[in-house]
């Protein structure tokens, strides 16, 4: 049982296709369950290049499945693994591509680091391609830090800067930029306040133009986070909402501390109560950013408008 998590720094389509198709063909030949989760034209070109083994490969658009990077581990990778529980899984997954915004990037980088923690000891291989020509150098540094093995110029080698995944994820547990000064804010202190929290969030989301079903998703997520405050902390909390870069943002702040870095990334047993507020937020929202320290946690939910 080994986990192989190579980062591929590719230069150009030829390099990309050569390594990814080689990885997939090898996995198919070995009898693995194979998933290709990439975006846009990469998805099309990989489908074309792998048409002869398409029956043995699942394809999914990472732009949808991984829209929220916090959903990739529970919603995509672990879900695929549990569907194929008897087999080794091999995945081509491209969570970070040029164009991920500054607000998304820390969540992506945490995701890449925590894959190592979640899949440690599992029989799986996850190849993560990165466009070396178009990513910033700081991003490339993070790739080396979060992958134990790298593939560069077609050759595998150990990453000298690979770091403990929890430490790497913690580097991105940073204070979030301040909410706009005019943002609407509501405090809550008891379970009887939850209906007000839901109405407040729903009303502002509707006014911002969020479609009805997405308003429901957001209200459900906010309610879970506020319930977490009331159940797991000694005090109350606050909800702050605003619009930023074509996103409706809803921030929940309280005095709690999210001690488990994997909170929200591991599917919970439906029969066990508690522990899934964050998981549900990842499932329902487009992006979840979190900053936590003893005595203060801020969770920011983003919904694309």
């Amino acid at each position: 049982m080994t986990f192989d998590h190579p980062g591929l720094l590719y230069r150009g389509d030829g390099d990309y296709l050569h390594v990814t198709t080689g990885f997939v063909r090898e996995a198919v030949a070995a009898g693995d369950a194979v998933l290709v989760a990439v975006t846009g034209h990469r998805l099309r070109s990989l489908r074309d290049a792998l048409s002869d083994v398409a029956g043995a490969v699942s394809f999914t658009d990472m732009a949808t499945a991984g829209r929220n990077p916090g959903r990739i581990i529970p919603g995509l990778l672990l879900a695929f693994a549990s569907t194929h529980a008897e087999r080794r899984i091999s995945v081509v997954g491209e969570p970070i591509r040029p164009g991920r915004s500054a607000v998304e990037y820390p969540a992506c980088a945490q995701h890449e680091a925590l894959i190592n923690a979640v899949f440690a000891g599992r029989d799986a291989a996850i190849l993560c391609p990165y466009d070396a020509g178009h990513l910033e150098s700081a991003t490339v540094d993070d790739v080396w830090r979060s992958h134990p093995v790298m593939i560069v110029d077609g050759r595998r080698r150990d990453s000298p800067s690979f770091t403990d995944p929890y430490a790497t994820a913690a580097r991105f547990n940073l204070p979030l930029p301040a909410a706009p000064s005019g943002a609407a804010r509501l405090t809550y202190a008891a379970a009887g306040d939850l209906s007000r929290v839901r109405r407040f969030t729903g009303r502002h989301a509707v006014e911002a133009g969020l479609p009805g079903a997405r308003v429901e998703d957001l209200v459900t997520a906010v309610n879970e986070l506020a319930e977490n405050t009331l159940v797991h902390t000694a005090g109350g909390g606050s909800v702050t909402v605003w619009v930023e870069d074509a996103r409706f943002v809803c921030q929940v702040g309280d005095q709690g501390f999210v001690a488990d870095p994997l909170a929200g990334r591991i599917p919970a047993d439906p029969r066990v109560p508690g522990g899934r507020g964050l998981l549900l937020a990842h499932y329902l929202c487009d992006l979840v950013r979190l900053h936590t320290q003893p005595g203060a946690t801020t969770i920011r939910l983003h919904m694309a408008l």
């Binding site: 379970a191 009887g192 998703d217 459900t220 309610n223 319930e227 159940v231 109560p273 899934r276 507020g277």
Partner: protein
Amino acid sequence: MIEAGMLGRLRPGDHACVVVDDDDVRLRSLATYINAGLRDDERILYFGPHPQRLADDLDLHAAVGRGQIEVVTPEDSYLAGGAFDPEATMAVWRSEAARARADGYRGLRAIGDMSWAAGPVAGRERLAWYEANVNRVFAERQAMAICLYDRRLFSPAELQRVTWAHPAAVDGATSPDAEPALRFARTVDPPGVRLRGEADLSNRQALRAVLERLADDIPGDGSPVTVDVSGLRFADAATVRILLEAAVAGAPRLRVSGCSPGLRRLLMFNGAEAVCES
């Protein structure tokens, strides 16, 4: 202004936790609730301390005289057996509701002043269980009740536990136009229960008790028992798990009907969309 709001608009089936901060609010809350019962031709039953003083303060002697209002001390009601017995108390509410109807009233309007539970009374540790499970009686809609809790007598943790066992709660901060958060109504055709309102942390233990025991509470030949959730405006993730647990435990007899698209998404999240009929 809790006395001006929800307490005058409660209906058979409701079971509200009323948290009062002082004697004045307590008395005005009782006046609102009792006057609605006099107006609606219901039998009013008060279990609590100083029944005579209540009758004096609210000028209830005429109604007491004709039997519409009965006032009883905790020692002669909740604690009549020497200790608090939740099951016996639930049986009392059911038989009192039947007696009220037999006496020609439209139903039973109960008042429980729970101050006795702040003392060292045997059985008080089952109070939260009782407050959750007594909803199984009120869901039959032959009776309604308010439970008075004096904030000066109970710790915040104790108040939280009992409040979350009620489908509705009222205190000084409740908006005058608020409705009970959640309502249960047992149904005959099809046999089951209908849920209305919003289900969340504030009433989770009440919902759990009603659904957990629903199949037991509806005797029958094994014919289906339906939980109609079409009237739920909001359901949190825990509500969905309670529905799932009830569906699994009550299978194949228990079924859930009337799921909204949002509830379906939550069921999908729990990997159990099939639980809900359309």
